[in-house]
Symmetry: C2
């Protein structure tokens, strides 16, 4: 089975590739995996072909699609902070190439007499939502994004929904919670601190908390993100009944609750490494973020996340720091 991961060099893309190499995809082990990204980390996922390039290079992407991958994971994106700082780049990377990809796939579908209809798993985000919010965001809550990133993700969802309804592709958009604990270095995502305040203290490093401890947010681990993607790749999408964008499950907790979980898992010494230093720019962004969800449909369809923030920290210890 041919699998293409657009954005395969990123954190989630690499974890997905490692998972596919180790365990196959939903029981299929004979995989031919191609990763596409602007850059790849040293080492990285084995048994996968790497193609270096820019997602805005339509002919390069077309060259990958013409191989007719059965499953396409689309993770390529400028992150929220960067899309907000650079409007032109955000739209050029996060919207236009997605439309170009769907048009390319429509051409391949038609040229194949309708035989080629790949599964497309698009990583959307809870950034498609904007406040004011209900206590818990349900599956029928409007998408009213308050960032360019969120608008771009919501638009791709709509494009994918229509292309799927028309039958060129068989697509699903999964709205990821904030992925936490994010390993490695901070990126330009404004959500970075949610991970920083856990990851850094766990290895004896200081971390800055730029918002109030009262801030509530929606989290899932990188391991859950990979689980969402592979589950989405194998699901009978007829069950979505035409609503192909799904809120993924996660854990709702305040920063204070995150810190309490850190205390339980790693002790007071770790907690002491968190320095409070409010950043009004980040506070203003985070103010409009979703806090809690009721992801009924995703749960019914078998998507699963963690049950507590303690579990999220333990997964980080296992997957990143080799603890059992």
């Amino acid at each position: 089975m041919k699998v293409l991961i657009l954005g395969g060099g990123g954190m989630v893309g690499q974890k997905l590739a490692l998972h596919l190499a180790a365990e196959g995809l939903n029981g299929v082990c004979d995989l031919e995996v191609t990763l596409f990204d602007m850059a790849f980390p040293e080492g990285g996922a084995p048994a996968a072909k790497r193609v270096v390039g820019d997602i805005t290079d339509a002919s390069l992407v077309a060259g990958l699609l013409v191989e007719k991958p059965e499953v396409i994971f689309h993770l390529a994106s400028v992150v929220s902070g960067e899309a907000e700082q650079d409007y032109v780049k955000g739209w050029a990377v996060n919207m236009s190439p997605f439309w170009a990809m769907l048009e390319e796939l429509r051409g391949l579908h038609e040229a194949s007499g309708g035989g080629y209809r790949p599964r497309v798993v698009f990583t959307s985000s809870i950034a498609v939502f904007g406040g004011p919010y209900p206590e818990k965001i349900g599956d029928e809550f409007l998408s009213a994004p308050q960032t360019s990133y969120g608008a771009q993700k919501a638009i791709c969802e709509l494009m994918l929904g229509d292309a799927s309804r028309k039958g060129f592709v068989d697509g699903i958009s999964i709205r990821l919670p904030t992925i936490c604990v994010r390993p490695g270095k901070p990126n330009l995502a404004a959500s970075g601190f949610f991970s920083n305040i856990i990851r850094e203290p766990l290895v004896g490093q200081k971390a800055v908390l730029p918002v109030s401890e009262e801030v509530r947010h929606w989290h899932a681990s990188p391991r859950s993100a990979v689980g969402f993607l592979t589950h989405a790749a194998g699901l009978d999408l007829g069950r979505l009944e035409g609503r192909r964008a799904l809120n993924m499950p996660g854990i709702s907790c305040t920063v204070a609750e995150q810190i309490e979980a850190l205390r339980r898992v790693a002790g007071e010494e770790a907690v002491k490494l968190i320095r409070r230093e409010r950043d009004p720019a980040i506070e203003r962004i985070v103010e409009f973020w979703p806090r809690d969800f009721e992801p009924t449909r995703a749960l019914e369809l078998g998507f699963r996340a963690e049950n507590s923030f303690d579990e999220i920290i333990r997964i980080h210890l296992e997957d990143e720091l080799g603890q059992r």
Copy 2:
């Protein structure tokens, strides 16, 4: 004040132009109105400059925008039935030129040092919704379109919302109910019959009802549509608090209730001219259409429609058949 009406040759565009010529725009009578469309009806709205062209011709549209209209009404669109039949044309007309227009306006905004920031009133549609529906669709119900037309409208709403948030334009998307009674000849819209069964019998002509009398739908008159547009042009959009797509008010009624209203206004002879002939293709489309709304925000912001379907028929008699 310069006003540009994209899609100014269509039914609503022409009525809007006539209104502007007769009454100005929210008290401003010194208007310089330009209408842009592929074709214009004989006669038509006076005191307006007409430009014939295709909305997909970016340089032609840019030539109109460079005049820096203070208000841009965007009504240009392939209708729902045609967008569904011709996927390529639908997306090429209903999405791409809208994005090109916003990019052009961003350029003009920046070139003017931020001084030029036009009001953009985009005519969206209740087609952005898809079933299953609640009893009444509220202002926070998700947009899950089940037609290409609906997806294209929802995407333009998101683009306009983000461009407005960024301050290049000051935009609002108004989601029109089905406009009824539509004068003139039927077009390719699958909703045509809602008007046909009223308009034709009122002038002694037969009309076909292709769906069950139980079908419930959401209507407003052409006069209301013009009222929505002009009200949207004058509104302080800060009041929208970042949610710039609004469900417009209307009348929810079944086809049976429409027919009863016709009976009250025009008698049994008119009703007898309606022939029932179910069309499964139209029934399948209409099955997924919204039935009723609770447009709280629009009402709070001063948008007004009719109070009964009888009133909708009387407006047709007044505005189209010269009755008082």
